[in-house]
Structure formats: structure tokens, C-alpha cells
């Protein structure tokens, strides 16, 4: 085991940092595989995996000169090899010893170059693991989590959390953003309603004043008393809605703070991006033999890990571009008085909430004169365009399409290949890339990106030529459906079909179309579209508050080509799908809809509040209302009176809603009664059962006057009355 160190101090420190990440991952893998099976011996495959990762870090540790780590990992590897072959047999003591050893090696990795020899404790554990059997931690198997893995007197200064966990919390926070937007919209609506009521109250006041002879007696009339009461309630309503707005503002601040601290948790410094770039450049240097050095500035600049990871590929592309095209010959360089090797300078800095990353070289630069000619020769530009285009425009053309292809035997061979994908990746992150160049002095690429991003997975689809997104957690299976149908059977359930072609594009095609199931809060719709694009990682952006009343949109994202794509709110799609299937007209005016003629109604619910509410609502529509608190009492009522309508809950003591309806339907004298069910369980099974019992409408709780009116006006119910 020998280590040849062929890095300068800076590069070595970057590489060690990188190695420490890899080593920790490998040790995590070993720990996990040991603990996964509880007391059971890891499988043969698990041993293979453990050996693979330990071997890999042994090699890497040698490269970066961490000999103590290599020594420890080597011994761990030999031990694992023996254990795989059953010498000695696996037990919980060995398992826990391996976990301790992994922790020991982690500390060694953290100490880096300062660790020259193995600590005595770790050395002993490694030596005795397979020769002397350590005492099992407990006579019988216990929960591995309860066994202390770390000695209590060695507290750690950092809590290591798997990045995926933070990602989960981040995406929950993103959900919270959607929720907040929804609440804000409702609050705004409430405020509008409060204003309207205040205005109507004002009009009522003036009408009363006008009607009063000389302003005297009207002040004491019952109408005026009601007006005064309305005034009080209207004030209360506007105060409440104002308070609600303040509270949502507080919520907005809290979510903002939450996001900020989560983002801080995910913050990475430019250093790790630079070390990645150093490795990439090193590989390129080896492959091409180009004399290129990297200089970095702004290592402490902080930005989101997600952004850093998303920058890996673009940076490799840019470096490749420099190495392939930016490097001038040593002779040419010396003639210009430049050092023989090309220096690439990477600079990271923050600027007004953005990360600005520049990659400049002191190489040949782009010869825009030749580039103009090439653009014309290859028919990309017309001669007149090339003649008038600014230097900037000519340089920017490199990002659009490769100016030449590989086999093009000119100085521009391949120039620009990959730059198009760089532009797209940066655009997807909500950033921009620009280029500046001067012949003989070099080229600078400048990337400007947000410091952090809210990322999520979304289903993308196309309607009327535009691409839209729905967060993937709300999207179920893809299928085909006919937008002309009202309902479609999916897994034995009838789901409403919502034509997004109509909603977003105002045409409603017929025939089978691509579709997807969208589920929100337990309810689903099937949405038909022009084309399903597929699942993509997207960066979630807020829409301007000006657009908040447009409830259909929950946000937006930016495509690779820089286009804005709207994110649809799944809650709205589900609601609209169900609304459309309930009423044939998209805008339904309940006030003018034909209504079931008022008669005598029986309200059955074990909640007094609901009985009172229903009585009040139905009375206002002209019904004579009786109430009963369960099915059994309701049956007694129906024996005494003839009822036109039964409004019943399902879950009640003594006799439940199903029993009640069943009994009524079984009695020829009472079977004709119209039935509306109000329930908090409006799921498919109940709907099917209700249909079998010729129930006219099933209204999900909480009940509102509007829902009740719609149930009364439901065409089905009305049709039956004729």
C-alpha cells in the first residue's frame, strides 16, 4: 500500500473533502446493511455490496494520502471477507462491533491528514473482530435501535442527515406553499364578500332613509332594527376577514422562515462545486493532454445543493468547450506574451439573490469574423443578417445550434456542441447564461442563477400547444378517455371526465384521448389532454400575486427553452370535474334552477346543530320541516305524516340511514319519498349503494345552503317529480 501524492496542496484539500463524503456514504452503506436484517446475517449480496464499497474507499483513500484510513478500511475489508465465508459465524455482537468500527473510521476520516496511526480502541476492535468473539450485546436479540452505537461521552458536533430526508421536508414545504396560496385566495374572496355586504347594507340604509317621512318613524320600524343588526354583523364580518388576512400574512411569514431555514440546511459552498470542476478538468487534461490550470475564487459563496448538483453537467460541458476550442497553441501564446499554459478562472459570487458563476479562460477567444462567415456558409444565417448582427448576437448564436459538427474540418469544429444543453439546463433552474469573448484574450461564460430552488416532480402534458404541469403526487394512472363522456369507469369506480382541452383550450374534441387520473383529498377525476409529456423534475415558481384570483393555477415553472409553463392546482381540477358532472352547465345558477316544489320534509340527523341548520335552510325555501334524531324515530314520524322529502344522515344510533331508507322503500305507501343523503362519507361505495336505493342526491358534509339548493334542484330529483 503506497500512496503517491501528485496534487498541489489546494487540490489535495479539495479531493480530501470529496473523499470524506464518499467514505461516509460507504460507511453508511456498511452500517445499514449490517443493521438491516436485525439479528440475521447479511445476505451474500449484502456482503458483496459491503466489500465493494469498502474496497472502493480503500483505493480512493490511498490516492489522497490518508494512510490511517486506508489501513482501517483494509482491515475491515479482510474481516468482512472472513465473515462472508462464515468464519466466525455472524452474531449481534459482531454486528454491533462493525457499526462501532464504521463510526471509528468516520472519525478518522474527519481528522483527515492529522490521523497518522489508528487509535488504539479502533485498532483493537479491528484486530479482535473475527479472532476473539466480542460479547454479544444482549443474550437475546434486542431492537438494534436501543443499543447505544456511540459512546455517550463522545458527542458529535454535527448531526448527519441523509439528503433525501431534507428533500422530503422541502417538498412538504412546497406543498405548504400551494396550501397557503389556496387559503389566501379564499381569504381574498371573503374580503370581497364582506365589502359587498357592507355596500348592500349601505344601500339598504339609504333606501330606508328615503322611505321614511322626514327621517322620523322609520328609525323604529322593524326593518330599521334589522338593518342595524345587519350593520353589526357586516362590521363583524369585515373585521374577521381583515384579521384573517393578517393571520394569513403571519402564515406567509412563517412559511417563508421555514423555507429559509430549510434552504440554509441545504446550503453548500462553492468549494465542493469547484472540487468537482477540478476533478472534471483533471480528467479532460488526461484525455486531451491540454495544458490547462484551474484557479478558483469565491469558495465560501453559499448556494443550494440542488443548484450545485444541477450545475455539474453544464460545467463539464463548458470546461470541455474550453479545452477543445479555447486553448491556443503554446507558440501562439508565447508570441502574445502569455504564459504557456491556459488558465481557467472560476469565480462564484452572490449578487442580489442570485449566484453568479463565471468561467473564463485566457485562451484564443472566439473569432467572430470567421464565425459570421461560418454561419452564412452553413445556411444558418442570411448574409445580410450576418452583416448587421452585433458581436453579442454572433456569440449568442453558439448557444442556439452547434455552428459546426464534428466532422467539419474547420477551426470551429464542434464549437458550440453542448452549449445548447448548457443554456437549457440553466434556463430550467431559472437562470441565464451569457458569453463574452475577445480574440487572443479569451472567453468568459457567465451563469446567473437563483441561489436556491424549490424543486418537485410533476407530470407534464400538452394542451392547445402549451405545456402544463401537475405535481406528480396528485397524478395517478395514465389512461385513455373520451372527453365527450361524463363519467368513466376506473378500477370499478365511476369518475368524472374533465376535458382540459375545453378548460384550457376551449375546444372539446371527441374520441379516445390521452388522459390521466388526478386525485386530491380522496376524490379523483380523469383529465383528458392533447398529449402526455411525462414526469419531470421541475423548479416551482410562485406566480405574481396579481394572478392569485385565477384559482386554476398553483404556480409555474420554466422549461429548458425558457418558456413559462403553468402548474395546475389539482384541488381545482377535482372540484371542477365533480362540479361539471353534477350539473350539465358549467356555470350553474342555483337561484333560477327549477326547484323541487316545497312540501313537507323530514330531517334526520343525530347532530342537533345539523338538524337546526337544515330546518332553517329548508324553511327558507318554503318547506314545512320536521326533525328526528335517528332512523327509528324517523320511521315513527313517517307513519304519522306523509313526507315529500327525507334528508338523512347515514351514521346514527338505533337505526342508521341505510336502514331507514330501506324500510321506507320496502313500504309501498312510503316508497315514493324523495331522499337526499348528507354524509361525511361520500365515497364510491356509498354512492353505489345510494343509487341502488334510488336516492336522488348524496351531499358531502359540511352542508351549505348552496349544496342543499343544488341537491334540491338536481335534474335527477326534479325529473322524478314530473
Amino acid at each position: 500500500m503506497s500512496a503517491t501524492i501528485d496534487f498541489d496542496a489546494e487540490e489535495l484539500s479539495l479531493l480530501r473533502q470529496l473523499f470524506s463524503g464518499e467514505a461516509n456514504d460507504a460507511l453508511d452503506t456498511v452500517t445499514r446493511l449490517c443493521l438491516d436484517g436485525g439479528a440475521n446475517r447479511p445476505s451474500h449480496e449484502a456482503f458483496g455490496e459491503m466489500l465493494r464499497v469498502t474496497h472502493a474507499i480503500k483505493g480512493a483513500g490511498g490516492t489522497v494520502g490518508l494512510l490511517a484510513v486506508v489501513d482501517a478500511v483494509h482491515q475491515l475489508e479482510s474481516n468482512l471477507l472472513q465473515l462472508r465465508d462464515g468464519r466466525p459465524a455472524w452474531n449481534s455482537g459482531i454486528r454491533d462491533a462493525i457499526v462501532d468500527i464504521c463510526d471509528g473510521i468516520r472519525e478518522l476520516v474527519e481528522r483527515g491528514a492529522n490521523a497518522v496511526e489508528l487509535p488504539v480502541g479502533l485498532a483493537t476492535m479491528l484486530r479482535t473482530l473475527t479472532t476473539e468473539q466480542p460479547a454479544p450485546v444482549a443474550p437475546l436479540e434486542t431492537d438494534p435501535a436501543s443499543a447505544p452505537i456511540l459512546p455517550l461521552d463522545a458527542p458529535r458536533s454535527h448531526l448527519r442527515v441523509a439528503p433525501e430526508r431534507i428533500d422530503t421536508v422541502m417538498s412538504n414545504a412546497a406543498e405548504l406553499l400551494f396550501d397557503r396560496t389556496r387559503i389566501e385566495r379564499r381569504t381574498q374572496l371573503l374580503r370581497t364578500v364582506a365589502r359587498d355586504i357592507a355596500r348592500i347594507r349601505q344601500q339598504l340604509r339609504s333606501a330606508l332613509d328615503d322611505a321614511a317621512p322626514h327621517g322620523g318613524p322609520a328609525a323604529y320600524s322593524p326593518l330599521a332594527a334589522l338593518e342595524a343588526e345587519l350593520a353589526g354583523q357586516a362590521t363583524l364580518l369585515s373585521q374577521t376577514s381583515a384579521a384573517l388576512i393578517d393571520e394569513t400574512e403571519a402564515l406567509r411569514r412563517t412559511i417563508g422562515e421555514l423555507q429559509k431555514s430549510l434552504t440554509a440546511m441545504r446550503m453548500d459552498t462553492a468549494q465542493s462545486l469547484f472540487s468537482y470542476s477540478a476533478r472534471a478538468l483533471r480528467a479532460l487534461r488526461r484525455a486531451t493532454g491540454a495544458a490547462v490550470e484551474l484557479v478558483t475564487r469565491g469558495e465560501t459563496t453559499e448556494f443550494d445543493k440542488t443548484v450545485a448538483e444541477a450545475l455539474h453537467d453544464p460545467i463539464v460541458q463548458l470546461l470541455r468547450n474550453v479545452v477543445s476550442h479555447g486553448v491556443d497553441t503554446a507558440a501562439a501564446r508565447v508570441a502574445l506574451g502569455k504564459p504557456a499554459h491556459v488558465t481557467i478562472t472560476m469565480t462564484a459570487r452572490q449578487d442580489a439573490g442570485f449566484l453568479v458563476l463565471s468561467i473564463s479562460d485566457d485562451g484564443a477567444g472566439v473569432d467572430t469574423k470567421t464565425l459570421r462567415e461560418r454561419l452564412v456558409q452553413t445556411d444558418r444565417w442570411t448574409a445580410s443578417r450576418a452583416a448587421v448582427a452585433s458581436e453579442d448576437e454572433v456569440l449568442r448564436s453558439l448557444f442556439v445550434t452547434p455552428v459546426s459538427v464534428k466532422d467539419d474540418a474547420t477551426a470551429f469544429a464542434g464549437h458550440g456542441i453542448g452549449l445548447d444543453s448548457v443554456r437549457q439546463s440553466i434556463a430550467r433552474l431559472g437562470g441565464e447564461v451569457s458569453i463574452a469573448s475577445s480574440v487572443g484574450r479569451g472567453t468568459t461564460f457567465t451563469l446567473r442563477l437563483p441561489l436556491s430552488t424549490a424543486v418537485g416532480t410533476a407530470m407534464l402534458f400538452k394542451v392547445a400547444g402549451q405545456v402544463y404541469a401537475i405535481p406528480s403526487v396528485f397524478v395517478g394512472q395514465s389512461l385513455t378517455a373520451n372527453p365527450a363522456d361524463d363519467m368513466i369507469a376506473v378500477r370499478h369506480e365511476q369518475l368524472p371526465v374533465l376535458s382540459l382541452e375545453q378548460l384550457l383550450g376551449s375546444t372539446k374534441p371527441t374520441g379516445m384521448r390521452p388522459a390521466m387520473e388526478v386525485t386530491y383529498a380522496g376524490r379523483s377525476v380523469v383529465c383528458t389532454v392533447d398529449k402526455i409529456v411525462g414526469l419531470r423534475e421541475i423548479v416551482i415558481k410562485q406566480l405574481d400575486p396579481l394572478l392569485a384570483p385565477l384559482t386554476l393555477y398553483a404556480g409555474a415553472t420554466i422549461s429548458g427553452s425558457g418558456k413559462v409553463q403553468l402548474i395546475l392546482d389539482p384541488a381545482q381540477l377535482v372540484r371542477r370535474g365533480h362540479a361539471r358532472s353534477a350539473t350539465p352547465h358549467p356555470v350553474h345558477d342555483s337561484q333560477s334552477a327549477p326547484m323541487l316544489a316545497a312540501g313537507r320534509a323530514l330531517v334526520v340527523d343525530d347532530s342537533r346543530a345539523i338538524r337546526e341548520a337544515m330546518t332553517s335552510m329548508l324553511s327558507r325555501e318554503g318547506w314545512i320541516v320536521d326533525v328526528a334524531e335517528d332512523g327509528a324515530r324517523a320511521l315513527q314520524n313517517t307513519a304519522q305524516h306523509r313526507y315529500d322529502l327525507l334528508v338523512t344522515d347515514l351514521e346514527m344510533p338505533n337505526l342508521d340511514g341505510w336502514g331507514l331508507i330501506g324500510a321506507l322503500r320496502a313500504d309501498p305507501k312510503r316508497a315514493g319519498i324523495a331522499v337526499i343523503i348528507i354524509t361525511s362519507r361520500a365515497h364510491a361505495e356509498n354512492r353505489r349503494r345510494a343509487r341502488d336505493l334510488q336516492v336522488r342526491a348524496l351531499v358531502p358534509k359540511p352542508i351549505t345552503r348552496r349544496k342543499l339548493l343544488e341537491a334540491l334542484a338536481s335534474p335527477n330529483l326534479h325529473g322524478n317529480e314530473r
Binding site: A427, G431, L546, L550, G562, H578, A690, R691, K707
Partner: protein
Amino acid sequence: MSDPRNVIVFAVGDARYAFEIRWIREVVTLGFVTTVPSAPPALCGVCNLHGHIVPVIDVTAIVPGAEPASGTARQGDGALLIDVSGSTLAIRLEKIDRVASYEYDSGYLLDGASRILLLEPTTVYRVAAEQIALVGNSEELASGPRAESL
């Protein structure tokens, strides 16, 4: 009596409008303008400007009695960026007419015999917000939770 204003005069369709220069953050070229289905005429769409998603506003749908703009918003159209009421709006234009100083008189700029309407950012914002709220609220009411008929 003299009340000169420094303005940018721009054209949409045949009509000319103006904003005071002090309100203009930037004159930009629009990228692809994404149409927002169900949006009122004042909102041409949304556009990505330096990673921010900016509403694109059509003033001809805001000024009462204005000739509606002939074409729809397109990539490459010019726009004035204005910060107003916490939002950044892109005011779509077809042509920048001139940057000049004119006498102001009750809402208009006097350009020889003709008059140019001087737009106020807050008014533009308010009218756009009202149009959008109107669409939003009617949608909201039309699609509230409903009874599920069987």
C-alpha cells in the same frame, strides 16, 4: 402653470400611450409569452424575464374605449417593466415612439394638436387586478363544492 413631464411614448395598435420615465425600470424584449387560459383581456400572458415570471399587460384592454390591440403578444415584442403595488408588470408595446418631455394637462400630454394619454402605474394595476378578480371570483362561485347527484 407649466407642468412638463418626462415620458416614454409608445404605440399599441394605432394608439399612443405614455408612462413617466421615473416609473420605468427597464425596457425589455419579451421571450415566449405563455397564454393564461381564462385570463381577462388585460392579461396577455406570463413571461420569463431573468428567471422571474412576469405578468404581461395589454393597456388597450385597460384604457376605456381604446382600440383593442390588433395582434396577440408575441415573442420579440417590446415591453416596459414597471414595479407597482409589490408586483412587476411587463406592459406590452408594439413600438417605442419617443422619449420626450411634454406639458401635462388633466390626464393627457399635449403634443401639438394631439393629446397622448398618460398612464398611471397604480391605475393600470388596479384595473388589471379588478378584471382578474372578476374572472377568478365568478369561477370560484361557479365551481364551489357541490352536491353529487347520482
